[in-house]
Amino acid sequence: MPNSVILFLSIHHVLAAEKVFKEHGLWLDVVPVPRGLSSECGMAIEFHSDDLARVGRLLQACQIKVRGVFRPCVDGYREVRG
């Protein structure tokens, strides 16, 4: 299954999430924001779509602010958490 993507408010929150994900053994990649998701020129986090539920719990528990979590679909991405 293709990877899901999280957009954050700023690079600080990207790196805060990266730290937490690594501490919890989750695979991730910090990548430029996909053009199809935003006109922002910053960074986003890709993760295995299988980890979606775990990622959601971690973000909530650590109070990391996000702009949205997006799953790949036929015509691009679909937001699963705002």
Binding site: S10, I11, H12, P32
Partner: protein, 376 residues
């Protein structure tokens, strides 16, 4: 040469400070949070990791509440000008630096705030019982207190003060104590704190920190590009971006990262600094004509003095020219403190030891002042 001006800025710096700055100057360095490439990401990681280490050191749970500034002065301005509104009443310690008194004077003029000086002992240490009585005449919008005076070296009891202030928001000027004394911002109930990194933290100049409690939403001092929400003309509402417009001082942050590596090995400076100050105080006790303006109970972080009728600038000049001792005479940008200590307008000579100074340095300074007092 003996450098006794650490209250102005620290010297020497740990080797790691220069090494980290040089590394980030010579290797590919991009703008943190401004682009999607690996070099920008590496810079952003440096900023993030340094902020995280500082948050851990200062007892801050969420590092986004710790804002990078140009120095302690900017942080103090950010809080005072971002928080206070027309008609507010503000408590201040009697030992405040002009980094506090000048923005407050502007706010007295422009926003018609009023100031009330906190009651204190002759060294400027706040009288907590009397403060409780003052607070009952509130409410006050803010209390501003220097953790340690840059003139007398007196240290305030922040835990006792927090209790005495009875929920009055507290702004701490930690310019003289960050990296020197233990500070646990959130468990101590501190709402705002500002410091630089070039003094007790032994980092480079041009960088400071400002803690803003998440319970407050202050107006930013500066607005502009943040690398986030770029589609909007409005300043972001989230931290740290809300308060960090413009390119960060990345090389200052790199040097601070080096300083923090060293601090992990070295520990805080306070015990060493207080020991050296007490040696000075004890050794100078028998100098004829010497007037001491610092507490002699082992707590002072610097030593202020006058010698007979000798003007402070003359004493400092002779200490440098005849004995190679570098110190600072005058008002130390803190006329309010000198008014409280009774040393305004001439000021004092301040001897401020720090990292790298030795017991032998203190003995040399004591001998020098003895010689000047007895031989003229």
């Amino acid at each position: 040469m003996i450098y006794l001006d650490h209250a102005a800025t620290s010297w020497p710096k740990p080797r790691a400070v220069g090494e980290e700055i040089a590394r980030w100057l010579t290797e590919l360095t991009a703008n943190a949070g401004r682009s999607g490439h690996q070099a920008s990401l590496a810079s952003a990681r440096l900023v993030f990791q340094t902020r995280e280490r500082l948050a851990e050191l200062l007892g801050v749970a969420h590092s986004e509440d710790l804002i990078f500034t140009h120095g302690a002065t900017e942080g103090l301005n950010l809080v005072l000008k971002g928080l206070l509104t027309p008609g507010d009443r503000v408590l201040v310690s009697p030992l405040e630096h002009n980094a506090v008194m000048r923005p407050l004077a502007t706010l007295v003029r422009e926003r018609h705030i009023t100031l009330q000086t906190l009651p204190a002992d002759p060294w400027g240490r706040i009288d907590l019982e009397a403060t409780r009585r003052v607070v009952r005449s509130g409410p006050y919008a803010l209390a501003v207190v220097a953790h340690s005076s840059n003139v007398s070296g007196a240290v305030q009891d922040l835990a006792g003060l927090h209790d005495a202030l009875n929920h009055t928001p507290l702004l701490v000027d930690a310019a003289q104590t960050a990296g020197v004394l233990p500070i646990s911002i959130e468990s101590a109930g501190i709402d705002f704190l500002a410091c630089s990194v070039h003094k007790g933290l032994l980092g480079p100049s041009g960088l400071g920190l400002c803690y803003l409690s998440p319970r407050y939403d202050l107006l930013p001092l500066v607005e502009g590009g943040t690398g986030s929400h770029s589609e909007s003309f409005e300043q972001p509402g989230f931290r740290p971006d809300r308060y960090e417009s413009g390119t960060l001082n990345l090389h200052g942050i790199a040097g601070t990262c080096g300083a923090l590596q060293d601090l992990t090995q070295r520990g805080l400076l306070g015990e060493h600094q207080q020991h050296l100050c007490q040696l000075l105080i004890d050794g100078l006790a028998t100098v004829p004509g010497l007037r001491l303006h610092s507490p002699a109970d082992g707590t002072a972080l610097c030593v202020s003095l006058n010698l007979a009728e000798m003007p402070p600038e003359s004493l400092a000049l002779r200490l440098e020219r005849e004995f190679g001792i570098l110190c600072r005479p005058g008002l130390h940008c803190a006329p309010a403190a000198h008014q409280h200590l009774g040393t305004f307008p001439a000021g004092t000579v301040r001897l401020s030891p720090g990292w790298g100074n030795t017991i032998q340095d203190m003995e040399t300074a004591i001998r020098a002042i003895h010689a000047l007092a007895t031989n003229g």
